[in-house]
Symmetry: C2
Subunit: 210 residues, 2 copies
């Protein structure tokens, strides 16, 4: 089973000047299970080179590496997978040309969307956003813990949650059954990225009692 427990998205706009690569390294050292590279502005060559570096770091730390939206970059940099939203290429289309073990993650706002993603061949879904968030401009209102529970009942693939998750509410998310908590500012905006990741990871472990 793949472990999506602590899933950290790199974001250079929220990182106090740290690069994607630095963020990935620091978060991996803190115990992140997944790193997602998300950048909507870099030229393809720069994004590819960034992904290539993060890919190496993730392999060294035995961390899954996911690229947001750009399947071409993910394939080129030998990432483990891609994460797509409703504005990206549909999962069912991607499934036709990526390798069989390539991870496809899909953002879903409701249990119905999650079920459709599962049928389309998604490997995991992420309830987005579970809480209100300021890290993503167009995220909309938090869907809440009840929607997370409904999503868990609706699908058999792992269900993550993203949006507004921090040290004060991560236990609630995991206790509600989330297979992973995806965070941005709760890790990348912190003074000590590694410590922030380690601390969230500890909270997850505490809830699960493992």
């Amino acid at each position: 089973m793949r472990d999506y427990s602590l899933y950290v998205l790199t974001d250079e706009h929220l990182s106090r000047g740290k690069s994607h690569v630095e963020l990935a390294r620091l978060a991996a050292e803190g115990g992140a299970d997944v790193i997602q590279l998300r950048d909507k502005h870099l030229e393809s060559r720069q994004l590819y080179e960034t992904a290539l570096e993060i890919s190496k770091i993730c392999r060294q730390h035995d961390v899954l590496f996911i690229v947001n939206d750009r399947v071409d970059i993910a394939l080129a940099a030998k990432a483990d997978g891609v994460h797509v939203g409703q504005g990206d290429i549909p999962a069912a289309v991607l499934r036709k040309f990526v390798p069989p073990d390539f991870i496809i993650g899909v953002s879903a706002g409701t249990a119905e969307e999650a079920l459709r993603a599962e049928k389309d061949g998604a490997d995991y879904v992420a309830l987005s956003p579970v809480f209100d968030t300021s890290s993503k401009d167009d995220a909309g209102c938090g869907r809440g813990i009840e929607e997370l529970k409904k999503m868990k009942q609706a699908v058999s693939i792992p269900v993550l949650a993203i949006g507004g998750i921090n040290k004060d509410n991560i236990k609630e998310v995991i206790a509600a059954g989330a297979d992973g908590a995806a965070v941005i500012s709760a890790v990348v905006s912190q003074e000590d990225v590694t410590a922030a990741a380690a601390s969230l990871k500890r909270l997850i472990t505490e809830v699960r009692g493992t």
Copy 2:
């Protein structure tokens, strides 16, 4: 042998309000041999849906369909290939994960760059820009007909030319040995896109005497 003779790039900013799909249809009706979809601004899903429509049009007209930069969009929409510049994913990297018959075109400014592209697995190179152009902001100065001739001698794959080609100089480009002429404004900015494509195609045929 693939025919790259008249190669039209869609560009919604230079098209007097016509969409990528309209441009592709009109240019294909005028006899374009290749259509390239280039858009650096559309969201992935919109770009994919646009590519899917153009892909159908091109198949109907037996026209090659190439997507600029975004290999993922090209694969998703079953385009014939991708065109990459020096700021995109390197051709040698792409070659590892695209199907064997998938076309990879590469922009080259010099014969040396063209030779490297050929070694990297490119199916064609495009001297860019052959003349000064206003259609692409960052294109730089025209490399000229002499560089085109050098490029033709340096590589065995087809050599196209792009940049500032219009009805007044297209014969010079073809006479110098170019396997194709790639145009933007000379087709897409014209009142009658189909007639403009047909007229350029006729000039190419005249030079070749076929």
